[in-house]
């Protein structure tokens, strides 16, 4: 799947029509009145309890102000009261679509602090599980985006694909959302028989079926009309808001922690970091779909290169991090996740600060929403892939 070159306008432009309209308003020929529209916290487009205070003029959004915090569960405080085993399961619940990817930075941080060597097989299996989780996450956003734009059929196609991957992951971890499978030093246990074949099959199936999606959604004229040149986020704005992940890459920022600062064994694999130049909804979506292909490539390579051996390093019976501090960054499906851990040598951390990708990404939304239509707001919210649990923690 390649980015079609012919459908791109040379530069970003937001709503040339509404500016024509605006001149009429400015000259006093048309008197309008602004109205405050409260979107959320319960609204189908916000997938969660996200609230947006939009000031609208007709169907045009003049200002938009996001209100977050409806789902604040105080995880950063809670983890100070729990030991490290328990924290794994708490952190897994922050971003409920990518549990494995949340557990990873904690395991990495502890291993760094305690100087544990992780066996190679465990590292490869971590990559496989993390990438499968990334595909799950991206398919979820594929479905929610298409549902928000009113295309109901691709929604269920994505769920069909998710089901096979989820089944394979369930056979390893026993969970469908909150896996709780990574331990400092390795994995809870080795994968069961038949998992590798099932994983390979489920991932290949996604790739085989991508042309269907192309026909139904990305190649659809209405879809292009709704997303191309809509909700433009410039490279500079993306940098200044600290946007990361597929959204940043959709704005021509070529950045991926997996490649730039490889952790685990990501430097062993051959994969591309996709980025698109225009920063509109279509580009963000295109990056997301393309990343599914790259993740599938990584899973295939990792399965083929999987070495034998143990899956757990030498870890003391009681996990006690020595005094010190450590910062780990990983590439979460939604962007860069940073975990800053301070330990005072106890069984529980002194403080954990987590930089979640969705929080920074959401902060760019009001900037993008200005001077768009109400219908565009839905496309933009859908293309800013965020998970509310990840925003509020």
């Amino acid at each position: 799947m390649t980015l079609p070159p012919d459908i791109k306008a040379p530069e970003l432009q937001q709503l040339q029509d509404s500016t024509e309209f605006a001149s009429e308003v400015a000259e006093g020929r048309l008197v309008t009145e602004q109205m405050l529209l409260n979107v959320g916290p319960q609204h189908p487009a916000t997938h969660g309890v996200f609230r947006l205070l939009a000031t609208i003029d007709g169907e045009r959004i003049v200002r938009a102000e996001p209100v977050v915090g409806y789902m604040h569960r105080g995880y950063e405080k809670l983890v100070e009261q729990r030991d490290y085993r328990q924290i794994t399961n708490l952190i897994s619940r922050m971003d409920w679509l990518s549990g494995i990817n949340n557990e990873l930075p904690l395991a990495l941080a502890l291993e760094k602090l305690m100087e544990i060597e992780v066996p190679e097989r465990a590292q490869y299996l971590r990559v496989i599980l993390a990438e499968m989780n990334r595909i799950l996450n991206h398919l979820m956003f594929f479905q929610s985006f298409s549902a928000e734009l009113g295309a109901l059929t691709p929604t269920f196609y994505a769920f069909r694909e998710r089901e096979d991957i989820q089944y394979a992951m369930e056979s390893v971890t026993g969970g469908r959302m909150h896996f709780g499978f990574f331990r400092p030093g390795g994995l809870k246990e080795d994968v069961p028989k038949g998992f590798l074949a099932a994983a390979l099959k489920s991932v290949r199936q996604v790739i085989e079926r991508l042309p269907d999606y192309e026909d139904l959604l990305t190649g659809n004229e209405i879809f292009k009309q709704r997303t191309i040149n809509v909700g433009g986020l410039t490279k500079e704005a993306a940098y200044s808001y600290g946007v990361s992940g597929p959204i940043a890459r959709g704005s021509d920022i070529d950045m991926d922690v997996r490649r730039d600062e490889p952790y685990l064994v990501y430097d062993q694999f051959d994969f591309e970091v996709c980025s698109a130049p225009h920063g509109d909804c279509f580009d963000r979506f295109w990056v997301l779909v393309h990343e599914v292909v790259e993740s599938a490539k990584i899973v295939e390579q990792a399965i083929q290169a999987l070495p034998p051996g143990p899956v757990m390093g030498k870890v003391p019976r009681v996990v006690e991090a020595p005094k010190g501090e450590v910062y780990v960054r990983t590439e979460n499906p939604l962007g860069e996740l940073g975990l800053y851990l301070i330990s005072d040598g106890e069984k529980r951390p002194y403080r954990i600060k987590i930089r979640t990708p969705s929080y920074s990404n959401v902060s760019a939304i009001p900037h993008v929403l200005e001077n768009t239509f109400v219908a565009d707001m839905i496309a933009i919210l859908g293309s800013f892939f965020f998970v509310l649990g990840d925003v509020d923690r």
């Binding site: 029509d17 295309a151 269920f156 009309q225 239509f373």
Partner: protein, 332 residues
């Protein structure tokens, strides 16, 4: 036994039949909608209610809605709010009065039948506007205004393509339009008929606010648009029943105007053995299937894009098609 019925009594019986047939048709339509959507999306759809393939599901849904509390928001305009569903549903019922299911199976063959159809079909928009305005809800208001704008834009392509059909048939009576179709208008005149048919379908989808032109109710943006505040039976009649019945009505109208209604699809005598009502139902079902197929295949357009599409493309094209039809009648 000799039963003599006055004209009024006959009319009453016919109207009662319509009052029974249309809601039942809407129920069946709702079931078909569920099943077609399910099969397109690799799902099963309702499977349990009633036994065989969940045939009673829409019935169960209807009963469930009858038990729901009927809520009228405190700040709503009560009279207008409670009247709006009727304003939407009754015109839809009234369209069925002039659709011929067979040569004589029609409530009233008006000599301005086609005109009546188009006129009554657009009255429902007033109901939608009433619902949106009286709900005292901003989402409902946006939905209602979109709906009104959409109606004005899409009434024209429908009327113009129907006008071309009237030109071809030389009459406004719906029965005589069917009689004029030796070959259905979709096939003959070649090209023009097909283009008119497509224009009519696009306009009909937009007027009914079905996807991909369902911006007035766009569930991911406006919850349910003008019907956001409605509950229970008012919701069912104003929204679900009206939508399904409207869809079937337009399918029947399209079958009548373009597919030859109750006549066989091609003028070949062995096909005339099949009764007209069967032809009519086959064609209407095909149209319903087509409308649902389109509905589940496309994403939703944006309101301004829809207006542009209507005024800058569809209306000029329909005017050109009227010219072409006129030329065809004059010179061919």
């Amino acid at each position: 036994m000799d039963i003599a019925l006055t004209d009024w009594q006959i009319l009453l019986v016919k109207v009662l039949v319509i009052l029974v047939v249309v809601p039942v048709g809407a129920l069946v339509g709702g079931y078909v909608l569920h099943k077609e959507m399910a099969h397109m999306q690799h799902r099963l759809g309702p499977m349990y209610a009633g036994g065989w393939h969940g045939w009673a599901q829409t019935l169960a849904d209807g009963i469930k809605f009858a038990y729901k509390e009927d809520i009228i928001p405190a700040s709503a305009d009560r009279a207008v709010f409670s009247m709006a569903p009727a304003m939407i549903f009754v015109p839809v019922l009234m369209t069925y009065l002039v659709i011929p299911m067979d040569r004589s199976l029609i409530v009233e063959d008006l000599n301005v039948g086609l005109f009546y159809l188009l006129a009554i079909g657009s009255v429902g928009a007033i109901g939608v506007l009433m619902a949106g305005w009286s709900s005292a809800n901003k989402y409902a208001l946006i939905g209602a205004l979109r709906s009104a704008g959409q109606l004005i834009a899409y009434e024209l392509p429908i009327v113009l393509s129907a006008a071309a059909v009237a030109m071809l048939a030389g009459t406004l009576s719906v029965v005589q339009i069917v009689e004029a179709q030796d070959w259905p208008f979709i096939l003959w005149p070649p090209g023009i008929g097909l283009a008119l048919f497509m224009l009519f379908i696009v306009g009909a989808i937009a007027e009914m606010a079905l996807p991909p032109f369902d911006m007035p109710v766009a569930e991911s943006e406006l919850i349910t648009g003008p019907f956001t505040e409605y509950t229970g039976m008012r919701f069912i009649f104003g929204f679900f029943f009206a939508e399904t019945a409207h869809m079937i009505a337009f399918a029947a109208i399209a079958a009548t105007l373009f597919l030859g209604g109750y006549k066989p699809i091609v003028p070949w005598s062995p096909l005339e053995v099949i009764p007209g009502i069967v032809w009519f139902f086959v064609k209407t079902s095909f149209m319903v299937f087509l409308l649902l197929w389109i509905r589940f295949s496309f994403p939703r357009l944006r309101e301004d894009q829809l207006q542009k599409f209507a005024w800058k493309f569809l209306i000029p094209v329909s005017l050109l098609l009227i010219l072409a039809t006129g030329a065809w009648i004059l010179y061919v």
